[in-house]
Protein backbone atom coordinates (compact mmCIF):
# COMPACT_ATOMS: atom_id res chain seq x y z
CA UNK A 1 0.00 0.00 0.00
CA UNK A 2 1.27 3.44 -0.89
CA UNK A 3 0.34 6.62 0.97
CA UNK A 4 1.57 9.81 -0.65
CA UNK A 5 2.20 12.40 2.08
CA UNK A 6 2.96 15.25 -0.31
CA UNK A 7 0.38 16.09 -2.97
CA UNK A 8 -1.64 19.10 -3.99
CA UNK A 9 -4.59 20.29 -5.93
CA UNK A 10 -4.98 23.86 -7.10
CA UNK A 11 -2.98 26.21 -9.23
CA UNK A 12 0.56 27.49 -9.50
CA UNK A 13 0.18 31.00 -10.84
CA UNK A 14 3.36 31.02 -12.91
CA UNK A 15 2.96 27.76 -14.80
CA UNK A 16 0.08 25.61 -15.95
CA UNK A 17 -0.14 22.37 -13.98
CA UNK A 18 -1.51 19.02 -15.10
CA UNK A 19 -3.29 16.59 -12.73
CA UNK A 20 -4.19 19.38 -10.27
CA UNK A 21 -7.75 18.44 -9.32
CA UNK A 22 -8.96 15.63 -7.09
CA UNK A 23 -10.38 13.84 -10.13
CA UNK A 24 -7.14 14.09 -12.12
CA UNK A 25 -4.99 13.20 -9.12
CA UNK A 26 -7.14 10.14 -8.39
CA UNK A 27 -6.58 8.91 -11.94
CA UNK A 28 -2.86 9.40 -11.43
CA UNK A 29 -3.03 7.47 -8.15
CA UNK A 30 -4.85 4.59 -9.80
CA UNK A 31 -2.39 4.53 -12.68
CA UNK A 32 0.62 4.29 -10.38
CA UNK A 33 -0.80 2.22 -7.53
CA UNK A 34 -1.19 4.88 -4.85
CA UNK A 35 -4.03 4.21 -2.39
CA UNK A 36 -4.17 7.45 -0.39
CA UNK A 37 -2.86 10.97 -0.89
CA UNK A 38 -2.41 13.65 1.70
CA UNK A 39 -3.43 16.81 -0.10
CA UNK A 40 -3.70 20.52 0.43
CA UNK A 41 -4.73 23.37 -1.81
CA UNK A 42 -1.90 25.18 -3.59
CA UNK A 43 -4.11 28.24 -3.83
CA UNK A 44 -3.63 28.66 -0.08
CA UNK A 45 -0.05 29.71 -0.74
CA UNK A 46 -1.22 32.68 -2.75
CA UNK A 47 -4.51 33.71 -1.20
CA UNK A 48 -3.97 36.20 1.59
CA UNK A 49 -6.93 34.62 3.36
CA UNK A 50 -5.93 30.97 3.28
CA UNK A 51 -9.27 29.80 4.62
CA UNK A 52 -10.78 30.37 1.18
CA UNK A 53 -8.43 27.70 -0.14
CA UNK A 54 -9.34 25.30 2.65
CA UNK A 55 -13.01 25.80 1.87
CA UNK A 56 -12.37 25.13 -1.82
CA UNK A 57 -10.66 21.87 -0.98
CA UNK A 58 -13.41 20.88 1.43
CA UNK A 59 -16.07 21.48 -1.22
CA UNK A 60 -14.12 19.55 -3.84
CA UNK A 61 -13.71 16.60 -1.51
CA UNK A 62 -17.43 16.60 -0.76
CA UNK A 63 -18.31 16.54 -4.44
CA UNK A 64 -17.54 12.85 -5.00
CA UNK A 65 -17.80 9.88 -2.64
CA UNK A 66 -14.67 8.30 -4.09
CA UNK A 67 -12.60 11.21 -2.83
CA UNK A 68 -13.39 10.47 0.83
CA UNK A 69 -11.38 7.25 0.90
CA UNK A 70 -8.61 8.47 -1.39
CA UNK A 71 -7.64 11.79 0.15
CA UNK A 72 -6.51 13.08 3.52
CA UNK A 73 -6.80 16.86 3.58
CA UNK A 74 -4.35 19.19 5.32
CA UNK A 75 -5.25 22.81 6.06
CA UNK A 76 -3.18 25.79 4.97
CA UNK A 77 -3.06 28.27 7.85
CA UNK A 78 -1.32 31.64 7.91
CA UNK A 79 -0.75 32.48 11.58
CA UNK A 80 -0.18 36.16 10.97
CA UNK A 81 -3.54 36.66 9.25
CA UNK A 82 -6.73 37.64 11.01
CA UNK A 83 -8.94 34.85 12.32
CA UNK A 84 -6.40 32.06 12.00
CA UNK A 85 -7.32 30.47 15.32
CA UNK A 86 -10.93 30.19 14.26
CA UNK A 87 -9.85 28.91 10.84
CA UNK A 88 -7.71 26.29 12.57
CA UNK A 89 -10.63 25.12 14.69
CA UNK A 90 -12.96 25.04 11.68
CA UNK A 91 -10.53 23.04 9.54
CA UNK A 92 -9.72 20.48 12.20
CA UNK A 93 -12.99 20.13 14.07
CA UNK A 94 -15.59 20.75 11.35
CA UNK A 95 -13.88 19.97 8.05
CA UNK A 96 -11.98 16.96 9.39
CA UNK A 97 -8.57 18.04 8.18
CA UNK A 98 -5.78 15.90 9.57
CA UNK A 99 -2.78 18.19 9.56
CA UNK A 100 -1.37 21.61 8.68
CA UNK A 101 0.68 22.98 5.82
CA UNK A 102 2.61 26.13 6.73
CA UNK A 103 4.44 28.45 4.33
CA UNK A 104 6.58 30.94 6.29
CA UNK A 105 8.47 32.15 3.20
CA UNK A 106 5.41 32.68 1.03
CA UNK A 107 3.36 34.14 3.89
CA UNK A 108 6.28 36.27 4.99
CA UNK A 109 6.84 35.41 8.63
CA UNK A 110 9.71 33.93 10.56
CA UNK A 111 9.47 30.25 11.40
CA UNK A 112 9.86 31.14 15.08
CA UNK A 113 7.37 34.00 14.98
CA UNK A 114 5.36 33.74 18.22
CA UNK A 115 2.21 33.19 16.19
CA UNK A 116 3.80 30.28 14.33
CA UNK A 117 4.93 28.74 17.60
CA UNK A 118 1.45 29.12 19.02
CA UNK A 119 -0.05 27.47 15.94
CA UNK A 120 2.36 24.53 16.12
CA UNK A 121 1.55 24.12 19.82
CA UNK A 122 -2.15 24.05 19.00
CA UNK A 123 -1.47 21.36 16.39
CA UNK A 124 0.57 19.42 18.95
CA UNK A 125 -2.30 19.62 21.42
CA UNK A 126 -4.67 18.24 18.78
CA UNK A 127 -2.21 15.48 17.91
CA UNK A 128 -1.92 16.53 14.28
CA UNK A 129 1.28 17.03 12.26
CA UNK A 130 2.62 20.28 10.86
CA UNK A 131 4.26 20.16 7.43
CA UNK A 132 6.88 22.53 6.05
CA UNK A 133 8.52 22.31 2.66
CA UNK A 134 12.07 23.36 1.89
CA UNK A 135 11.00 24.74 -1.46
CA UNK A 136 8.01 24.57 -3.76
CA UNK A 137 9.95 24.81 -7.01
CA UNK A 138 13.56 24.89 -8.16
CA UNK A 139 14.38 28.58 -7.77
CA UNK A 140 16.65 28.47 -10.81
CA UNK A 141 13.54 28.39 -12.96
CA UNK A 142 11.42 30.67 -10.83
CA UNK A 143 9.14 33.30 -12.25
CA UNK A 144 10.25 36.87 -11.82
CA UNK A 145 7.14 37.26 -9.62
CA UNK A 146 7.94 34.37 -7.26
CA UNK A 147 9.58 34.75 -3.83
CA UNK A 148 13.24 35.73 -3.93
CA UNK A 149 14.83 32.83 -2.08
CA UNK A 150 17.17 31.97 -4.93
CA UNK A 151 19.87 29.34 -4.98
CA UNK A 152 23.35 30.81 -5.32
CA UNK A 153 22.43 34.16 -3.80
CA UNK A 154 22.84 35.61 -0.30
CA UNK A 155 19.15 34.68 0.28
CA UNK A 156 19.19 31.03 -0.76
CA UNK A 157 16.54 28.35 -0.76
CA UNK A 158 15.96 26.67 2.59
CA UNK A 159 17.71 23.54 3.73
CA UNK A 160 17.01 21.18 6.59
CA UNK A 161 18.65 23.46 9.14
CA UNK A 162 16.03 26.14 8.49
CA UNK A 163 13.34 23.90 9.99
CA UNK A 164 15.21 23.13 13.19
CA UNK A 165 14.30 26.32 15.11
CA UNK A 166 10.60 25.46 15.18
CA UNK A 167 11.40 21.89 16.18
CA UNK A 168 13.50 23.24 19.03
CA UNK A 169 10.66 25.58 20.00
CA UNK A 170 8.01 22.82 20.08
CA UNK A 171 9.96 19.58 20.30
CA UNK A 172 6.98 17.45 21.23
CA UNK A 173 4.98 18.36 18.09
CA UNK A 174 4.73 16.13 15.01
CA UNK A 175 6.53 17.45 11.94
CA UNK A 176 6.64 16.62 8.25
CA UNK A 177 9.45 18.00 6.07
CA UNK A 178 8.71 18.00 2.36
CA UNK A 179 10.75 18.25 -0.83
CA UNK A 180 14.15 17.77 0.78
CA UNK A 181 16.47 20.06 -1.17
CA UNK A 182 19.89 21.55 -0.68
CA UNK A 183 22.29 20.58 2.10
CA UNK A 184 21.23 17.77 4.39
CA UNK A 185 24.36 17.61 6.49
CA UNK A 186 23.69 18.30 10.16
CA UNK A 187 25.90 18.71 13.20
CA UNK A 188 25.73 15.85 15.68
CA UNK A 189 23.44 17.69 18.06
CA UNK A 190 21.14 18.71 15.19
CA UNK A 191 20.91 15.14 13.95
CA UNK A 192 20.17 14.01 17.48
CA UNK A 193 17.30 16.49 17.61
CA UNK A 194 15.89 15.24 14.31
CA UNK A 195 16.17 11.63 15.41
CA UNK A 196 14.35 12.09 18.68
CA UNK A 197 11.57 14.19 17.13
CA UNK A 198 8.38 12.63 15.81
CA UNK A 199 9.17 13.66 12.26
CA UNK A 200 8.90 12.43 8.69
CA UNK A 201 10.71 13.44 5.51
CA UNK A 202 9.04 12.66 2.21
CA UNK A 203 10.88 10.98 -0.66
CA UNK A 204 10.22 13.57 -3.37
CA UNK A 205 13.22 15.84 -2.81
CA UNK A 206 16.28 16.13 -5.01
CA UNK A 207 18.71 15.84 -2.10
CA UNK A 208 17.87 12.17 -1.72
CA UNK A 209 20.51 11.10 -4.21
CA UNK A 210 20.94 7.70 -2.61
CA UNK A 211 17.97 6.50 -0.58
CA UNK A 212 19.98 3.70 1.00
CA UNK A 213 22.53 6.15 2.37
CA UNK A 214 19.85 8.48 3.73
CA UNK A 215 18.13 5.58 5.50
CA UNK A 216 21.41 4.90 7.24
CA UNK A 217 21.88 8.55 8.12
CA UNK A 218 18.41 9.37 9.41
CA UNK A 219 16.84 5.99 10.17
CA UNK A 220 14.04 4.01 8.55
CA UNK A 221 11.36 5.66 10.72
CA UNK A 222 12.13 9.09 9.29
CA UNK A 223 11.03 8.70 5.65
CA UNK A 224 7.70 8.28 3.90
CA UNK A 225 6.64 8.15 0.29
CA UNK A 226 5.83 11.52 -1.25
CA UNK A 227 5.48 12.86 -4.78
CA UNK A 228 5.19 16.66 -4.53
CA UNK A 229 2.62 16.20 -7.27
CA UNK A 230 1.58 17.88 -9.49
CA UNK A 231 4.71 20.05 -9.42
CA UNK A 232 7.17 17.15 -9.55
CA UNK A 233 6.74 13.97 -11.57
CA UNK A 234 4.60 11.24 -10.10
CA UNK A 235 7.13 8.40 -10.20
CA UNK A 236 10.46 9.55 -8.78
CA UNK A 237 9.39 9.56 -5.12
CA UNK A 238 8.19 6.00 -5.47
CA UNK A 239 11.28 4.93 -7.39
CA UNK A 240 13.53 5.93 -4.50
CA UNK A 241 11.76 3.28 -2.41
CA UNK A 242 11.10 0.53 -4.92
CA UNK A 243 14.64 0.47 -6.32
CA UNK A 244 16.23 -0.14 -2.92
CA UNK A 245 18.23 -3.34 -2.76
CA UNK A 246 17.37 -5.88 -0.09
CA UNK A 247 20.68 -5.10 1.54
CA UNK A 248 19.57 -1.48 1.90
CA UNK A 249 15.97 -2.01 3.02
CA UNK A 250 14.24 -5.23 3.98
CA UNK A 251 10.56 -5.87 3.29
CA UNK A 252 9.49 -4.41 6.61
CA UNK A 253 11.45 -1.23 6.03
CA UNK A 254 9.95 -0.79 2.58
CA UNK A 255 6.48 -1.10 4.04
CA UNK A 256 7.33 1.57 6.59
CA UNK A 257 8.38 3.84 3.74
CA UNK A 258 5.39 3.05 1.55
CA UNK A 259 2.74 3.57 4.23
CA UNK A 260 3.68 2.46 7.75
CA UNK A 261 5.43 5.61 8.86
CA UNK A 262 2.73 7.80 7.35
CA UNK A 263 -0.02 5.88 9.10
CA UNK A 264 1.78 6.20 12.41
CA UNK A 265 2.47 9.91 12.21
CA UNK A 266 -0.77 11.09 10.63
CA UNK A 267 -3.01 8.59 12.37
CA UNK A 268 -4.72 7.14 9.31
Amino acid sequence: MLIDINAYVGHWPFQQLQYNTCEKLLKRMNQFGVAISVISNLNGIFYKNTQSANEELYEELKSNKRFRDAFVPFAVINPIYAGWREDFDTCINKMGMKGLRLYPKYHDYDITDPACIELVKRARDKGIPVAFNLRMIDSRQRSWMDIDYVVGTPKPEWNLKNILPIIKAVPDAKFIILNLANATKLADEEMALVKKTNLLIDTSGRSINDMGVELKNFGKEKFAFGTHSPILDYVTGQLRIESLYDTEADAQTKELLRSGNAKRLIGI
Binding site: M1, L2, Q15, L17, Q18, Y19, N30, Q31, F32, G33, V34, A35, I137, D138, R140, Q141, R142, S143, W144, D148, V150, V151, G152, T153, R206, I208, N209, D210, M211, S229, P230, I231, L232, D233, Y234, V235, T236, G237, Q238, L239, R240, E242, S243, L244, Y245, D246, A251, K254, R258
Partner: protein
Protein backbone atom coordinates in the same frame (compact mmCIF):
# COMPACT_ATOMS: atom_id res chain seq x y z
CA UNK B 1 -2.61 -2.85 -26.64
CA UNK B 2 -2.91 -1.60 -23.09
CA UNK B 3 -0.04 -1.22 -20.64
CA UNK B 4 -0.63 -4.51 -18.82
CA UNK B 5 -0.91 -6.53 -22.01
CA UNK B 6 2.25 -4.89 -23.24
CA UNK B 7 4.13 -6.04 -20.13
CA UNK B 8 3.00 -9.61 -20.53
CA UNK B 9 3.80 -9.74 -24.21
CA UNK B 10 7.29 -8.28 -24.28
CA UNK B 11 10.36 -10.45 -24.20
CA UNK B 12 12.09 -8.11 -21.81
CA UNK B 13 9.37 -8.20 -19.23
CA UNK B 14 9.37 -11.98 -19.34
CA UNK B 15 13.14 -12.03 -19.10
CA UNK B 16 12.94 -9.54 -16.27
CA UNK B 17 10.95 -12.03 -14.22
CA UNK B 18 13.66 -14.66 -14.58
CA UNK B 19 16.44 -12.37 -13.45
CA UNK B 20 19.73 -14.01 -14.22
CA UNK B 21 22.98 -13.39 -12.41
CA UNK B 22 25.21 -12.21 -15.24
CA UNK B 23 26.32 -8.62 -15.60
CA UNK B 24 24.35 -8.34 -18.81
CA UNK B 25 21.26 -9.57 -17.08
CA UNK B 26 21.80 -7.15 -14.22
CA UNK B 27 22.28 -4.34 -16.69
CA UNK B 28 19.04 -4.93 -18.47
CA UNK B 29 16.95 -6.14 -15.63
CA UNK B 30 18.41 -4.48 -12.58
CA UNK B 31 17.78 -5.58 -9.05
CA UNK B 32 15.97 -8.87 -8.69
CA UNK B 33 14.95 -8.28 -5.12
CA UNK B 34 13.54 -4.87 -5.84
CA UNK B 35 11.52 -6.27 -8.72
CA UNK B 36 10.11 -9.12 -6.69
CA UNK B 37 9.18 -6.93 -3.79
CA UNK B 38 7.62 -4.33 -6.01
CA UNK B 39 5.30 -7.01 -7.39
CA UNK B 40 3.68 -7.28 -4.02
CA UNK B 41 3.17 -3.57 -3.55
CA UNK B 42 0.46 -2.41 -5.85
CA UNK B 43 -1.71 -4.79 -7.75
CA UNK B 44 -2.21 -2.34 -10.58
CA UNK B 45 1.32 -1.06 -11.08
CA UNK B 46 4.73 -2.66 -10.81
CA UNK B 47 7.19 0.19 -10.94
CA UNK B 48 10.38 -1.81 -11.19
CA UNK B 49 8.95 -3.92 -13.98
CA UNK B 50 8.20 -0.69 -15.82
CA UNK B 51 11.71 0.60 -15.10
CA UNK B 52 13.46 -2.53 -16.31
CA UNK B 53 11.54 -3.19 -19.48
CA UNK B 54 13.20 -0.31 -21.35
CA UNK B 55 16.72 -0.43 -22.75
CA UNK B 56 18.48 2.77 -21.76
CA UNK B 57 21.41 4.81 -23.01
CA UNK B 58 22.47 7.60 -20.66
CA UNK B 59 23.51 10.42 -22.99
CA UNK B 60 24.69 12.74 -20.21
CA UNK B 61 26.60 11.37 -17.24
CA UNK B 62 29.90 12.12 -15.57
CA UNK B 63 32.60 10.14 -13.81
CA UNK B 64 34.69 11.38 -10.92
CA UNK B 65 32.94 14.72 -10.95
CA UNK B 66 30.46 14.30 -8.11
CA UNK B 67 28.67 11.48 -6.27
CA UNK B 68 31.69 9.22 -6.19
CA UNK B 69 33.74 7.28 -8.71
CA UNK B 70 32.84 4.90 -11.52
CA UNK B 71 31.58 2.27 -9.09
CA UNK B 72 28.84 4.65 -8.04
CA UNK B 73 27.76 5.12 -11.66
CA UNK B 74 27.54 1.38 -12.14
CA UNK B 75 25.70 0.86 -8.88
CA UNK B 76 22.87 3.12 -10.06
CA UNK B 77 23.00 1.92 -13.64
CA UNK B 78 22.46 -1.63 -12.42
CA UNK B 79 19.73 -0.53 -10.06
CA UNK B 80 17.77 1.19 -12.81
CA UNK B 81 18.66 -0.91 -15.84
CA UNK B 82 20.82 1.62 -17.66
CA UNK B 83 22.70 -0.35 -20.28
CA UNK B 84 25.39 2.07 -21.49
CA UNK B 85 26.61 5.31 -19.96
CA UNK B 86 28.16 7.96 -22.20
CA UNK B 87 30.53 9.41 -19.68
CA UNK B 88 32.45 12.65 -19.70
CA UNK B 89 34.40 14.83 -17.35
CA UNK B 90 34.17 18.44 -18.48
CA UNK B 91 36.38 21.11 -16.97
CA UNK B 92 34.13 22.83 -14.46
CA UNK B 93 36.77 24.91 -12.70
CA UNK B 94 40.17 26.38 -13.42
CA UNK B 95 41.56 27.75 -16.67
CA UNK B 96 40.97 24.71 -18.88
CA UNK B 97 44.46 24.38 -20.28
CA UNK B 98 45.32 21.61 -22.77
CA UNK B 99 46.88 19.76 -19.86
CA UNK B 100 43.57 20.08 -17.99
CA UNK B 101 41.43 18.65 -20.78
CA UNK B 102 43.89 15.88 -21.63
CA UNK B 103 43.89 14.92 -17.96
CA UNK B 104 40.08 14.96 -17.86
CA UNK B 105 39.86 12.72 -20.91
CA UNK B 106 42.39 10.36 -19.41
CA UNK B 107 40.18 10.01 -16.33
CA UNK B 108 37.33 9.03 -18.64
CA UNK B 109 39.54 6.56 -20.52
CA UNK B 110 40.62 5.00 -17.24
CA UNK B 111 36.99 4.53 -16.19
CA UNK B 112 36.22 2.93 -19.56
CA UNK B 113 39.03 0.43 -19.00
CA UNK B 114 37.45 -0.39 -15.65
CA UNK B 115 33.97 -0.99 -17.13
CA UNK B 116 34.48 -1.47 -20.89
CA UNK B 117 31.06 -3.04 -21.42
CA UNK B 118 29.20 -0.20 -19.74
CA UNK B 119 31.06 3.07 -20.35
CA UNK B 120 31.55 4.88 -23.64
CA UNK B 121 33.41 8.17 -23.68
CA UNK B 122 32.61 11.73 -24.64
CA UNK B 123 35.81 13.80 -24.81
CA UNK B 124 36.20 17.38 -23.65
CA UNK B 125 38.32 20.28 -24.94
CA UNK B 126 38.63 24.03 -24.52
CA UNK B 127 38.36 25.80 -27.86
CA UNK B 128 40.39 28.73 -26.54
CA UNK B 129 43.24 26.32 -27.32
CA UNK B 130 42.09 25.48 -30.79
CA UNK B 131 44.98 23.50 -32.28
CA UNK B 132 45.47 21.49 -29.10
CA UNK B 133 41.74 20.82 -29.07
CA UNK B 134 41.80 19.46 -32.60
CA UNK B 135 44.75 17.23 -31.75
CA UNK B 136 42.93 15.98 -28.65
CA UNK B 137 39.78 15.22 -30.61
CA UNK B 138 41.79 12.99 -32.96
CA UNK B 139 43.47 11.21 -30.04
CA UNK B 140 40.17 10.55 -28.28
CA UNK B 141 38.32 9.41 -31.41
CA UNK B 142 41.19 7.04 -32.19
CA UNK B 143 40.74 5.65 -28.68
CA UNK B 144 37.06 4.98 -29.30
CA UNK B 145 35.29 8.00 -27.87
CA UNK B 146 32.14 9.07 -29.64
CA UNK B 147 31.25 12.70 -29.02
CA UNK B 148 32.30 16.08 -27.65
CA UNK B 149 31.24 17.42 -24.26
CA UNK B 150 32.03 21.07 -23.57
CA UNK B 151 31.42 23.43 -20.71
CA UNK B 152 31.28 27.17 -20.10
CA UNK B 153 34.73 28.36 -21.19
CA UNK B 154 33.32 29.70 -24.48
CA UNK B 155 29.76 30.08 -25.76
CA UNK B 156 28.72 27.52 -28.34
CA UNK B 157 28.27 30.17 -31.04
CA UNK B 158 31.62 31.88 -30.45
CA UNK B 159 33.72 31.89 -33.66
CA UNK B 160 36.43 30.04 -31.74
CA UNK B 161 34.11 27.07 -31.92
CA UNK B 162 33.69 27.09 -35.70
CA UNK B 163 36.68 24.84 -36.61
CA UNK B 164 35.70 22.43 -33.83
CA UNK B 165 32.10 22.30 -35.05
CA UNK B 166 33.32 21.65 -38.59
CA UNK B 167 35.55 18.84 -37.35
CA UNK B 168 32.70 17.26 -35.41
CA UNK B 169 30.42 17.55 -38.43
CA UNK B 170 33.04 15.73 -40.50
CA UNK B 171 33.16 13.01 -37.85
CA UNK B 172 29.33 12.90 -37.80
CA UNK B 173 29.49 13.16 -34.02
CA UNK B 174 27.37 15.29 -31.72
CA UNK B 175 28.50 18.34 -29.74
CA UNK B 176 27.12 18.16 -26.21
CA UNK B 177 27.25 21.58 -24.61
CA UNK B 178 26.46 22.52 -21.01
CA UNK B 179 23.51 24.88 -21.15
CA UNK B 180 21.30 26.91 -18.87
CA UNK B 181 18.55 29.42 -18.91
CA UNK B 182 17.41 31.32 -15.88
CA UNK B 183 14.96 34.09 -16.44
CA UNK B 184 16.63 35.94 -13.60
CA UNK B 185 20.08 35.48 -15.06
CA UNK B 186 21.48 34.38 -18.40
CA UNK B 187 18.12 35.11 -19.93
CA UNK B 188 16.84 38.58 -20.24
CA UNK B 189 16.55 39.74 -16.66
CA UNK B 190 19.97 40.26 -15.13
CA UNK B 191 18.58 40.86 -11.68
CA UNK B 192 20.34 38.25 -9.55
CA UNK B 193 23.93 37.16 -9.42
CA UNK B 194 23.62 33.42 -9.00
CA UNK B 195 27.29 32.95 -9.84
CA UNK B 196 26.48 31.62 -13.27
CA UNK B 197 29.40 31.96 -15.64
CA UNK B 198 28.86 34.67 -18.23
CA UNK B 199 29.86 32.38 -21.09
CA UNK B 200 27.22 29.80 -20.28
CA UNK B 201 25.37 28.92 -23.48
CA UNK B 202 21.66 29.69 -23.57
CA UNK B 203 19.04 28.50 -26.09
CA UNK B 204 19.53 31.52 -28.33
CA UNK B 205 23.21 30.60 -28.73
CA UNK B 206 22.26 27.11 -29.87
CA UNK B 207 19.77 28.48 -32.38
CA UNK B 208 22.51 30.69 -33.79
CA UNK B 209 25.18 27.99 -34.21
CA UNK B 210 22.66 25.42 -35.44
CA UNK B 211 21.56 27.78 -38.18
CA UNK B 212 25.17 28.42 -39.19
CA UNK B 213 26.00 24.71 -39.28
CA UNK B 214 22.88 22.75 -40.27
CA UNK B 215 25.05 19.72 -41.01
CA UNK B 216 26.30 19.58 -37.41
CA UNK B 217 24.46 18.08 -34.42
CA UNK B 218 24.14 19.75 -31.03
CA UNK B 219 22.96 18.47 -27.64
CA UNK B 220 21.45 21.10 -25.35
CA UNK B 221 22.40 19.69 -21.96
CA UNK B 222 19.98 18.91 -19.15
CA UNK B 223 16.63 20.61 -19.57
CA UNK B 224 16.08 19.33 -16.03
CA UNK B 225 18.98 21.23 -14.51
CA UNK B 226 17.04 24.26 -13.50
CA UNK B 227 16.61 25.97 -16.81
CA UNK B 228 13.18 27.22 -17.80
CA UNK B 229 12.29 24.22 -19.95
CA UNK B 230 9.24 25.78 -21.55
CA UNK B 231 11.28 28.76 -22.72
CA UNK B 232 14.07 26.44 -23.86
CA UNK B 233 11.88 24.10 -25.88
CA UNK B 234 9.99 26.96 -27.50
CA UNK B 235 13.25 28.60 -28.46
CA UNK B 236 14.74 25.40 -29.92
CA UNK B 237 11.59 24.30 -31.71
CA UNK B 238 12.74 25.32 -35.17
CA UNK B 239 16.36 24.15 -34.85
CA UNK B 240 16.07 20.55 -36.06
CA UNK B 241 19.75 19.77 -35.50
CA UNK B 242 19.55 20.64 -31.81
CA UNK B 243 18.62 17.81 -29.44
CA UNK B 244 17.90 18.12 -25.72
CA UNK B 245 18.69 15.68 -22.96
CA UNK B 246 16.36 15.14 -20.05
CA UNK B 247 18.97 15.06 -17.31
CA UNK B 248 19.31 17.19 -14.21
CA UNK B 249 18.02 17.22 -10.68
CA UNK B 250 14.70 18.88 -11.54
CA UNK B 251 11.95 16.44 -12.37
CA UNK B 252 9.02 18.70 -13.03
CA UNK B 253 5.83 17.00 -14.05
CA UNK B 254 5.07 17.52 -17.76
CA UNK B 255 8.63 18.53 -18.65
CA UNK B 256 9.07 15.68 -21.09
CA UNK B 257 5.52 15.80 -22.40
CA UNK B 258 6.18 19.41 -23.26
CA UNK B 259 9.58 18.72 -24.81
CA UNK B 260 8.06 16.09 -27.09
CA UNK B 261 5.16 18.38 -27.92
CA UNK B 262 7.45 21.23 -28.95
CA UNK B 263 10.47 19.41 -30.37
CA UNK B 264 8.94 16.18 -31.59
CA UNK B 265 9.59 12.67 -30.32
CA UNK B 266 12.94 12.25 -32.13
CA UNK B 267 14.93 15.09 -30.54
CA UNK B 268 14.82 14.13 -26.86
CA UNK B 269 17.55 11.96 -25.28
CA UNK B 270 17.47 10.20 -21.93
CA UNK B 271 20.21 11.51 -19.67
CA UNK B 272 20.84 11.54 -15.94
CA UNK B 273 23.67 13.96 -15.20
CA UNK B 274 24.10 11.53 -12.29
CA UNK B 275 20.58 12.30 -10.98
CA UNK B 276 19.43 8.78 -11.56
CA UNK B 277 16.10 8.54 -9.76
CA UNK B 278 14.71 11.71 -11.30
CA UNK B 279 15.99 10.91 -14.77
CA UNK B 280 14.17 7.60 -14.98
CA UNK B 281 11.15 8.75 -12.97
CA UNK B 282 10.37 11.70 -15.19
CA UNK B 283 10.26 9.56 -18.33
CA UNK B 284 8.03 6.91 -16.77
CA UNK B 285 5.69 9.56 -15.38
CA UNK B 286 5.29 11.31 -18.73
CA UNK B 287 2.06 10.77 -20.60
CA UNK B 288 3.86 9.46 -23.68
CA UNK B 289 3.37 6.37 -25.81
CA UNK B 290 5.51 3.27 -25.46
CA UNK B 291 7.20 4.13 -28.73
CA UNK B 292 8.00 7.63 -27.55
CA UNK B 293 9.46 6.36 -24.26
CA UNK B 294 11.60 3.83 -26.12
CA UNK B 295 12.84 6.58 -28.40
CA UNK B 296 13.78 8.76 -25.45
CA UNK B 297 15.40 6.01 -23.43
CA UNK B 298 17.36 4.44 -26.29
CA UNK B 299 16.54 4.92 -29.95
CA UNK B 300 17.06 8.65 -30.39
CA UNK B 301 20.62 8.77 -29.10
CA UNK B 302 21.44 5.50 -30.82
CA UNK B 303 20.28 6.98 -34.11
CA UNK B 304 22.75 9.83 -33.66
CA UNK B 305 25.52 7.35 -32.85
CA UNK B 306 24.66 5.41 -35.98
CA UNK B 307 25.68 8.35 -38.16
CA UNK B 308 29.30 7.76 -37.10
CA UNK B 309 28.93 3.99 -37.02
CA UNK B 310 29.15 3.95 -33.22
CA UNK B 311 25.63 2.79 -32.47
CA UNK B 312 24.74 0.08 -29.97
CA UNK B 313 23.47 -3.20 -31.39
Amino acid sequence: MNRRKFFSSTALSAAGAMLGNTLAAKTLRGNAAATTEATGTAASYNLMKDVLKYRKLDAHVHVNLYHGGPEENIKFADRLGIEKLFISRPITSGPGTPQDFIESNNIVLKAIKQYPDRFIGQFTVNVEHQQESLVEIKRCVDLGMVGLKVYTQVKINNPLFFPIVEKMADLKMIIHMHAMLQLGLGGYRMKYDTKMRPNTSIPEDFVDIARRYPEAMFQFAHIGAGCDWEYTCKMLKHSPNVYVDTSGSSNDEYMLDYAVKELGEDRVFFGSDNCYYQSVGKVLAANLTETQKKKIFFDNYNRVLKKSGKNIA
